[in-house]
Amino acid sequence: MNLSRRGFLGLAAGVAVTSLASACGGGAQAPATKAQGLTVKLPTYTPLASIPKPDLPGTAAGVPDAYFTYPKELFKAVQKPPMSGGQVKIAMKTFLPPPPGREQNAAWREMEKRLGGTADVMIVPTDDWPTKFSTLVAGGNLPDIFPYISTQGVNNLPAFAASQCADLTPFLSGDKVKEYPNLAALPEVFWKQGIIGGKLYGVPVPRNLVGGLGFYRHEMFAQAGVTDLAQITGLDRFAELLKELTRPQERRWAIVTATGGVFGLSIFTQLFGVPLEWRLDKASGKLTHAIETEEYRAALEYVIKLREAGVIYPGSEGFDTLKRKNEFNSGRAAITYDGLPAYLGPGNYLQTQKKIDPKADPRPLLPIGAKAVTFANNIAFSTNLLKKAGEARVKELLRVADFFAAPFGSEEFTLIQYGLAGTDHTRDDQGNPVLTDQGAKDITVPWKYIAAPTQAVYDPTSRDGVEHVHAALTKMIPQAVYDPTTGMFSPTAENKFESLYTMRNDKVTSIVAGRARLSELDQLVKDWRAQGGDKIRAEFEQALQQSNGPR
């Protein structure tokens, strides 16, 4: 139901966008309906000098700084208000219940004071954003700053961007970004997410690069004799361990999955060294897709064996996300796949499991075996586009984005995350902000998704938790594999991504579930190639040739 509605909207928005693009005429660039390489000079990475000293320092490779406590002394990251009166209209997706309006929301009023203008925020539930976006485009009502996600249903994204969005290349490329110091502190890898049709359009909201391999219950592993993941010498040993962890008579299984999770395949594709989407052979410039690789087949075979061995929670392939989390939280499974952001903080794995069982010790699962990689699939939360406008206005909007990219420990960051001191939060004797009841509501305005700094690891409630996440990122980020086509454009990929993905996921799920044979993988690859895979490959290979520098 949902999908077909989206499909329909995609079509509708596509029509609307195309007609808008053609209506725009002279001003707009020729829409890029052909493959497009990465030719933009990305904004120069210029780290900020004055950030608070971390408890666990990060690395230039992208491992974030980590803090056990919040910096006691806050500093000002934005010297003067980014706006001089006037209004900025912002549309943002949210995962949270709606906030109190401006009149009852001290943090909102303070934010506008700091911004130097009115901030009208249109808050849209994440699931509804594609629908809302279509109507905003059709009605010519685009706000000044709005998110773009790939399932949003624009058929010709470069044409849409060229006709409706501000090209940020002339404002941010190379050293120009230094005018916006907080944005300049974002490494290049994040900016690649904002490239559309060969130009920089998007302001990224950074995450910690890798989403991880899911989580495991350390105390259960220890019971089975594994006190350190390094003791698991290889994938055969891991399979044995999973069998030992499975005790159906105690209602406990090694792995719990959920619908669409393909029996935890995401963990094993990484352990087997499958590429993230594409693998580039640098010598020949040829691309191989993940599902065409031997590693993928091996990972599938491995998961099939696991299922047959009964270590995967029976029936959990029909669970929804909440049910999967419940079962993992209550100790009925030793491993689950989920993104690293689901670990720290209220309502997430660490706190919830400690509440249910103080002995519970969930930790991020780390790469096991010689071939393991980690997917760089958590680079950015989203990318936000700016509405096309004159030079002065675009600069003003970029200053607004720069404001929201203020780093951890700054006054601005504190306001964005914890609201107004005194009203929305107080600070404990360690200096950690503690939200008041009012604060918990006030801060649900999705400010933090407008733009953001690189994400520090911080959780005052658990020093261990912070250490685990930092250690996991330290191990995983150097092993990360990137999609070599990031920042490049293939029209076929843009249009076919969802249908190809669904086709693939359905078939692979059937194969692992035992409803189809492993040999049907060959047919799937053939179908996938015929229905767009080969065309996407050719377009991306062409795009790679046009791109600047080695990847």
């Binding site: 309006g101 909440l322 509440k355 249910i356 995350q417």
Partner: protein
């Protein structure tokens, strides 16, 4: 009539009890889960019948901050005013279309029926509302769905089956159409109108999609939109940051939301129920 045997009664009783339990079970579960703690929910696998230590945290989380209470007010007003407006428009239109002597009534009816088969789509609807200047107004929650073709057809066929002689005699006594409608047709149509009112009211009460499309200001959102956010977003409720505690377990909040959404309808239903079966049957069979 023969008295049923004891065994027969017992079997019937058992079946009825079984069916009742089937119906009541999920309700109890919803209420139970809404009052549960994280531990209860995790232990019971997400569905708690009897919470070990009932807590109102989830309800507190929903009602705190006034967002839900304000949305509740919006919903009550939209449902009330919307239902009245819809009834007025539908009754007027159905009466007009039920008079065979009205020229063009068939053509208008066909247009109305057409909307049952093909709806205009989201974008066209949005553009219309935008051009009428209704964006960000409460009218956008009512006007686009003012007349439902289904209700119109039910009402029209009911009106057509009223004895024509009644109206003719009224007309001979000098009554105009408005008087006939108000004095004769409406009093005879109480049942069917009650049913249609219920249909409209439930639809307005549950509607969120128009609010999503047409209202940018969250302060104007009706209850279902807000509740939907609690339910949908609960799935991935992100950390509120800092040293905050999660206000209540996600599932407890979701279930509490269901209770809040269902209770008003449950309260209204018994009052309209006696009209309900009668009304639907009248419209359906005679049509």
């Amino acid at each position: 009539m023969e008295r049923p045997s004891k065994a027969g009664l017992a079997v019937k009783g058992a079946i009825l009890l079984g069916v009742s339990l089937l119906v009541i079970y999920p309700f109890v579960g919803v209420i139970g889960t809404s009052l549960s703690t994280e531990t209860d929910i995790a232990k019971a696998g997400g569905f708690v019948l009897l919470p070990s230590a009932p807590r109102l945290d989830a309800y507190r989380a929903i009602f705190e901050g006034g967002t839900v209470t304000r949305a509740l007010l919006v919903s009550v007003l939209v449902t009330g005013i919307g239902t009245l407006a819809s009834l007025a428009a539908t009754i007027g239109m159905a009466y007009g279309l039920s008079r065979r002597e009205v020229t063009g009534s068939r053509a208008i009816l066909v247009v109305a029926l057409f909307t049952m088969l093909f709806n205009p789509g989201i974008i066209a609807g949005f553009l219309t509302v935008q051009q009428l200047g209704l964006l960000n107004t409460f009218a956008a929650l009512v006007l686009p769905s003012l007349v439902s073709a289904f209700n119109l057809v039910v009402l029209r066929s009911f009106f057509m089956n009223l004895p024509n002689e009644l109206m003719e005699s009224a007309r001979m006594d000098g009554a105009g159409d408005l008087r006939i409608l108000v004095r004769i047709v409406l009093p005879l149509s109480k049942a069917v109108i009650a049913v249609i009112a219920l249909f409209y009211a439930v639809a307005y009460w549950n509607a969120f999609f128009n609010a999503l499309l047409y209202l940018d200001d969250t302060e104007k959102w009706p209850l279902p939109m807000i509740l939907r956010m609690f339910v949908l977003q609960g799935r991935t409720l992100e950390s509120l940051g800092g040293a905050a505690e999660a206000p209540a377990p996600v599932q407890a909040i979701q279930m509490a939301v269901l209770v809040v959404a269902v209770v008003p309808i449950l309260i209204v239903y018994p009052f309209l129920q006696r009209y309900f079966t009668k009304g639907v049957l009248t419209g359906a069979i005679k049509g």
